[in-house]
Symmetry: C2
Subunit: 251 residues, 2 copies
Amino acid sequence: MSRGELARQQSTHLVLAELKAACANCNLRELCLPAGLSNAELDQLDNLVNVRRKIKRGDALYRAGEIFDAIYAVRSGFFKSRVTYEDGRDQVTGFSMGGEILGMDGIGQGTHNCDAIALEDSDVCTIPYTRLEELSREVSGLQRHFHKMMSREIVRESGVMMLLGVMRAEERIAAFLLNLSQRLNARGYSPLEFHLRMTREEMGSYLGLKLETVSRAFSKFHNDGLIEVEQKFVRIIDIEGLKQVYAHHVN
Amino acid sequence: MSRGELARQQSTHLVLAELKAACANCNLRELCLPAGLSNAELDQLDNLVNVRRKIKRGDALYRAGEIFDAIYAVRSGFFKSRVTYEDGRDQVTGFSMGGEILGMDGIGQGTHNCDAIALEDSDVCTIPYTRLEELSREVSGLQRHFHKMMSREIVRESGVMMLLGVMRAEERIAAFLLNLSQRLNARGYSPLEFHLRMTREEMGSYLGLKLETVSRAFSKFHNDGLIEVEQKFVRIIDIEGLKQVYAHHVN
DNA sequence: TATGTGTTTTGATGTGGATCAAAGGCAATC
DNA sequence: GATTGCCTTTGATCCACATCAAAACACATA
């Protein structure tokens, strides 16, 4: 597959699916909120998830401080989440792709804690929170799965803490590429070649590194025969080698 | 108050409260899972939270990999949560004190993701998860508050990511002390003098720093007249000065 | 009181990644 | 196809924190 086709495949909205409103016919249902629900339960969820929203590249799905009233399921596209600190410093705290849930940070305090910015034209399902609460009192499978998604977000973040707290630069970047690869794979895309949706700077912000360091690591991986990189296009040549980058550290 | 008394006050179990089983009479109820529930609702919760467990200093409340079947509310004492990576490297991902909930990381995959280790003799309430699910289908206040606690854990962790990703050593340590201070204050303890329950190394692990760096920062803060430190005892002398440590960074 | 063990402090030195700087590449718009 | 505005790469230098080392200290147990 050429790079151009790959880019198109990953960002094309699924026009057919847009004709049907919601989860029952969504090809992401096994990854998303409805995972594990019965058909009858799915129908109930469909009544809840009826508002779709398109977000243009660069625009915010929500911003820190805004009133929280819904969570969002990414239907297509790609987002970054970004926390801005009082003094203006900010950090990217995550990247989200199809089937992943955004906005759960807002439940605790009633306002969003971060900005969710689309890194490409994107499409989300809006899930009003109070109605989700109501429905998950009736549909225990939904309740359980929603809890799981929140819990997994907690676990994901402690993984990032590990990354930031104990790994060195190249390990972080290898781990990041492998994580992306695995998530793309779960969505039916090639795990070995893909387009990065974020800049080196955004990647660095997420990983606690400067963009120059990210760039140098990419060059090093390329020289070591682990990957091919051309701007935002990445091809993983030696996935085992990439895994060894952080398996074989010196303690 | 002398340092000895302070230490005793913070670690003494509340013998009287132990006679009553659960939440309705717990002095932590405003901070803990039952926050905001009506008296009737509290009574229902009392039926759920009936297993108490004592954990000795150094022992684990649970360990990574164990089957998850309950979350825990810290009643007295102090815990660290620790994630161990495949290759043996580990990181402290949090510290928990009275009224805080432990174990929510296990919901997603059905097994615990980290070890929870008592840093002093501690006392927890066991909350069986399936019963919590059932009850929160009936008691919407409980459902909502449980969601809030999970969400706050997500927000807390993104705060730590910020700390690890963008702050420098002294900022991290100042932020850490102020966070401890604020949490102790919310529990009725002095926000200005307290005993650290963790070693310099555990603090460093949490903050992504080496123990020597933590020690040096403490010495520096002492020389700058911000705090007094004597081993595990800390007195904050100039809380505003401490806040300025990370407010006045150079960008 | 002596002894061992783990914790903390402090100093000297090393280094990974930040910072500074400059050049080159890509894509959109005119 | 020239201009403009990012984004990326690469090199040179710097510095914050790690690492290495040693001594002091705290606390438990014999």
